[in-house]
C-alpha cells in the first residue's frame, strides 16, 4: 500500500471525533472526520476509506444503516461501531451485517488501537494480493490481449513460438474475435518490432486500385498517376504488412501477391524493374478460406502458401471464462474514459454477460460495456444497465424457469458437446449458480456436474468460480 490507510470516523458529537483523532493520530492513519453520516457517505465514493468507526445512535441516520450503506458501496472497508448504550441485540445485528467489532463508550483505547492495526494489516494484505493478481494478469496477457481460457492461452503460446520466425501467417476467426490483435502481437513479438506495421483492409479498396496500392505505380502508368508512388509493400519494407480480409482480394491481385511472396520482389505498375522487398505478411480472414479455395473463389496455391501457419482465434462463446476478465478490463478502460468511478459489474449483470450470444465476439462485448458504462449510475454496472445496452440478438432469452423448460433455446451449433454446454450454462443460470440444484435438475451427481464443468472449461480456476456460481452452493 502506497498511501497511508484512511480511517473514517462518524459521530454526531464533535468532542468524540476530537478524542478519536487524539488517540489515532500517532498510529499513522489518515483521518476523515464527520458529524453528519450523510455527508460522510456522500464523500465515500470519491475518497475511499480502509476502516470506518461509526457511532450507533445518531439523529439523522443510525449507525446500522450507515454500516449497511458502506457494505454496499465499499465492501472492502472494515466497519467498527461504537455506542454509549451497549445492547446485546444491536451488537449481534452489527456483526451479522458485517461489522468488524462493536465497542462501547467509554472507549477501550487499547482495544481500539489493536483493531485499527489489524484492519491496517488486512488492507495491506489486500493491496499485496491485488498487486500479485495484476502481475499474474500481465503474465497471462499477450501484448494487451486478454485470454485466460485454455484455448486462448494455447493460441498465445503458439503466437509466441512462431513470432520470431514466421515469414507469413494466416489469422482466422469470426468478426470481432481479435484477429487484428493477434496480427499485431505477431509483429510486436518478432524481430521486426521496431519497424513498421502496415495495414491494408482488402474489402475497403476499389478493385482497380489494388495493384497500385500494394505495389505502387510509375508516373503515367494510368490516368491519374501523376507521380511515382511507392506501394504498401515498399512502405512496409523491413516490417510487417497486415492484409486484413484477404478473402476479398481480386483474383488477379492474388496471383501477383503470390509472386511477391515467393520472389521477394515487387514491380510498380508501369515499371519493368523488379524491386527487392523484405516484408513479413500476416493475412486475416473471417471467411472459410479453405472452402473458398475448394470452390475456386480463392487461389489454392496462395491459400496453401499463407496457411503454413494458421492461427485460429476462437469465438467468444467458446471461451466464456474469458468474459469476466475482458469485462473487468473494458470497465476499467471506460470508467477512465467517462470519468466515472465504476469498479465492476454486479453478480447478476455478470451472469447476463455470460449468457450472451456474442456473435460479434469481443468487439460486441466491448461495445455493450461501453454503452453500459455511459449509462451507469452506481459503482457497479447493474443487470438492467447491461441488458439495456445489449442488442436483443445478443441477450439470452428471458430467464423465467417456466417458459425455458418448455421452450428450449435453439442450440448455437449442432455439435452435441456445444448443446450440452449450452444447456448446463442455462440451467446453472436459472438456478442462480447453485450447483446442487443444477445437478439435481440435470440428473447428475454434483461430482459429475463438476467434471462436466471442467471439461467445458466453465470452471478454469477457483477465482472465477463465482462467475457461474459460488463454490459452497
Amino acid at each position: 500500500m502506497g498511501a497511508r490507510p484512511v480511517l473514517l470516523v462518524i459521530d454526531d458529537e464533535p468532542g468524540m471525533l476530537a478524542l478519536v483523532e487524539r488517540i489515532v493520530r500517532p498510529t499513522g492513519f489518515e483521518l476523515v472526520l464527520h458529524t453528519s453520516a450523510r455527508d460522510a457517505l456522500a464523500g465515500l465514493a470519491a475518497s475511499p476509506a480502509d476502516v470506518a468507526l461509526i457511532d450507533l445512535q445518531m439523529p439523522e441516520l443510525g449507525g446500522l444503516d450507515v454500516l449497511k450503506a458502506i457494505r454496499e458501496i465499499q465492501p472492502q472497508c472494515g466497519v467498527i461501531l461504537m455506542t454509549a448504550h451497549a445492547a446485546v441485540d444491536s451488537a449481534i445485528n452489527a456483526v451479522k451485517l458485517g461489522a468488524l467489532d462493536y465497542l462501547s463508550k467509554p472507549l477501550d483505547i487499547d482495544r481500539l488501537r489493536q483493531l485499527l492495526s489489524q484492519a491496517r494489516e488486512d488492507a495491506e494484505r489486500r493491496a499485496a494480493l491485488l498487486a500479485a493478481e495484476n502481475q499474474t494478469a500481465h503474465r497471462l496477457e499477450l501484448c494487451g490481449m486478454i485470454g485466460r481460457s485454455a484455448v486462448m492461452q494455447e493460441l498465445f503460446g503458439l503466437v509466441r513460438r512462431i513470432a520470431p520466425h514466421a515469414r507469413t501467417a494466416l489469422v482466422t476467426g469470426e468478426t470481432g474475435a481479435g484477429k487484428e490483435g493477434i496480427a499485431r502481437a505477431i509483429h510486436e513479438l518478432g524481430p521486426r518490432r521496431q519497424r513498421k506495421f502496415v495495414t491494408i483492409n482488402c474489402s475497403a479498396i476499389v478493385e482497380t486500385l489494388f495493384e497500385s496500392e500494394l505495389f505502387g505505380h510509375m508516373r503515367g502508368a494510368f490516368t491519374g498517376a501523376t507521380d511515382h508512388k511507392a506501394g504498401l509493400f515498399e512502405a512496409a519494407d523491413g516490417g510487417t504488412l497486415f492484409l486484413d480480409e484477404i478473402g476479398e482480394l481480386p483474383g488477379a491481385v492474388q496471383a501477383k501477391l503470390l509472386r511477391v511472396i515467393e520472389n521477394g520482389e515487387v514491380q510498380r505498375v508501369g515499371s519493368m524493374q523488379p524491386k527487392k522487398v523484405d516484408v513479413r505478411i500476416v493475412a486475416a480472414t473471417n471467411r472459410q478460406l479453405k472452402t473458398e479455395a475448394d470452390a475456386g473463389r480463392f487461389r489454392s496455391d496462395l491459400y496453401y502458401r499463407l496457411n503454413v501457419i494458421e492461427l485460429a482465434v476462437p469465438p467468444l462463446r467458446e471461451r466464456l471464462q474469458d468474459i469476466p476478465y475482458l469485462t473487468a478490463a473494458f470497465v476499467e478502460e471506460f470508467s477512465v474514459k467517462f470519468h466515472k468511478q465504476i469498479d465492476g459489474v454486479s453478480p447478476a449483470a455478470e451472469r447476463t454477460l455470460m449468457e450472451g450470444r456474442w456473435s460479434g465476439n469481443v468487439r460486441e462485448l466491448r461495445n455493450v460495456l461501453e454503452r453500459a458504462c455511459m449509462l451507469a449510475e452506481g459503482r457497479s454496472l447493474t443487470e438492467r444497465e447491461i441488458q439495456s445496452s445489449m442488442p436483443s440478438t445478443t441477450a439470452a432469452p428471458p430467464r423465467s424457469t417456466d417458459s425455458l423448460d418448455r421452450r428450449p433455446t435453439p442450440p448455437r451449433s449442432d455439435d452435441l458437446d456445444a448443446i450440452e454446454r449450452d444447456h448446463i450454462i442455462r440451467v446453472l443460470a436459472e438456478e442462480r449458480g447453485n450447483k446442487r440444484a443444477a445437478a439435481e435438475r440435470l440428473g447428475l451427481s454434483r461430482r459429475t456436474l463438476y467434471r462436466r464443468l471442467e471439461r467445458h472449461q466453465l470452471v478454469p480456476s477457483r477465482d472465477t468460480l463465482g462467475s457461474v456460481g459460488s463454490p459452497e452452493t
Binding site: E13, G15, M16, A18, L19, R22, I23, Q57, A84, H85, A86, S104, K105, P106, L107, D108, I109
Partner: protein
C-alpha cells in the same frame, strides 16, 4: 434537550470524552510526572461518573 433519555445519552457521551482524554494523558505521562496525581483524581472521578451512568456495567 428536555427528554431524560436524550440527556442521559449526551451525558454518557461527554463523560466518555472526559475519560478518554484523561486516559490518553495518563498513558503519555511518565511515572514521575508532577501532573500525574491530578490526572489520577480526574480519572477516578470520571470512572465514578461512568459507574453512576452505567449501573449495569462493570467498572471500566
Amino acid at each position: 434537550m428536555t427528554n431524560p433519555h436524550d440527556i442521559d445519552h449526551a451525558l454518557k457521551n461527554h463523560i466518555a470524552i472526559i475519560l478518554g482524554y484523561i486516559e490518553v494523558l495518563l498513558q503519555e505521562c511518565g511515572p514521575d510526572d508532577p501532573r500525574r496525581a491530578d490526572f489520577d483524581e480526574i480519572h477516578r472521578a470520571a470512572l465514578a461518573a461512568v459507574a453512576l451512568l452505567h449501573p449495569d456495567r462493570e467498572k471500566v
